[in-house]
Symmetry: none
Subunit: 140 residues, 4 copies
């Protein structure tokens, strides 16, 4: 059998709080989703003013990053026209996200969860996701 | 035009905390979802040990209760074989939940959101959802 | 963070082999699916003559049993008309299975995966799933 | 009426074993799916460390290759912006895969099944799928 390490709900709250702080700092209310290492949702918050359409997008960015062990912006590059993974964006019923803002949460080289952020530009979403991870890694 | 009153993210956290406290008290780790009055997710937490399958079920219970302005257990009664709403359980791609544990959040006679709880028996889910609303109403 | 124990691919093969042996013994070619504790597929076999429609059913039985930590036949009882979980069968886009043949795989009181079997009667499916678990537990 | 030639479960195991051996050789744990000539799943294995998101992707690559009698990487070329099949990637609810790693299994000029591989780069996925077919053709 395999031994897996996984974010717990307290970890998820730290990730969301760290991300939300950065979102406030840059003035963009965000949807923030945290999944476990298998891509299943642990926690979610839509900040006041966050976009309704971003609810699913944030959840699916976290799902993609955790499940594929890969930042969603890396899929963005790999799936451009002419690039090897072109067309992957519509896989898994459209759940596979190739837009920036989804990051795997990695501890000791192991993916333990994912964070997905949406409502700003992809660059803002990514910055906010990174802030969440930064805040979390200080607690590990 | 309409003026809508809606839960904010701080309200959502109070609802989740109130529900989680009851869940701990009865010893059943739960999935707890809060939607706004339009049925869109505001916040979600899967307590450590909450069921993976209950993630979607909790979200859909809150969606149903807020959107239909009705407790999901009332749909349970109304959708029994021979009853008027028989068959409604598979509506909206299966999102319309008729199992107890989803309640509209009502302030001054107006639905301002929904809470959905899943992982226990339907009676436990409902009890935990009620505790969330009780905790919230104290703050209004 | 949480520490999780999960079936590996070798375990999944043992579960399938044990189930398939029983399926041959009773003369019913089966679809047999093994998921991890999060409900994600690890391995699947459709025996020659297994039903095409049973592919998804077997996978969803294993998903339900692992994710809900519960035998699917228990949901069958709890979701009868008039019973508390009536209507649950169409939840999660219809993936929540209430028909017998899905069992959680439990080691030391912890759910480490799920097995789902389909193509026979629910009683046959369940018998075959149990045989898979029996074969696996001998190796733990 | 038609006479169809189709992979059996023993063939499917040979295909998976051949693919998995190559996957180990290149050090990339893979999801490997085998479908029959109708695109219905016969067998699947997620090697330890294979990506959760690749489960569906591998199955859909095999489905596409068998059903369309065409390598998925050929669709990749044909579906580029300006090319005749542009936009096909989102067909069938996103199941039609245009990323490399799906190959029809062909015997005597007839498609008898499909193999789909996912978790590596599309080039790696394709290499591993080819190794599966190579191993299988030695047994025909």
């Amino acid at each position: 059998m395999l031994k897996i390490t996984r974010l717990d709900i307290a970890d998820a709250r730290v990730l969301i709080a760290g991300a939300a702080e950065k979102a406030k700092e840059i003035g963009v209310p965000m949807c923030i989703a945290i999944t476990d290492e298998s891509g299943n949702l642990i926690a979610f918050e839509r900040m006041d003013g966050g976009k309704v359409t971003s609810t699913t997008i944030a959840i699916d960015k976290a799902f993609t990053a955790a499940g594929a062990k890969k930042a969603t912006h890396d899929y963005g590059t790999a799936s451009q026209p002419g690039a090897p993974a072109y067309g992957i964006a519509s896989a898994i019923g459209g759940r596979l996200m190739v837009v920036g803002g989804g990051l795997p949460v990695i501890v000791n080289g192991e993916v333990v969860g994912g964070i997905g952020v949406s409502s700003g530009t992809p660059a803002q979403d990514r910055e906010v996701a990174e802030a969440g991870i930064e805040a979390f890694l200080k607690t590990v």
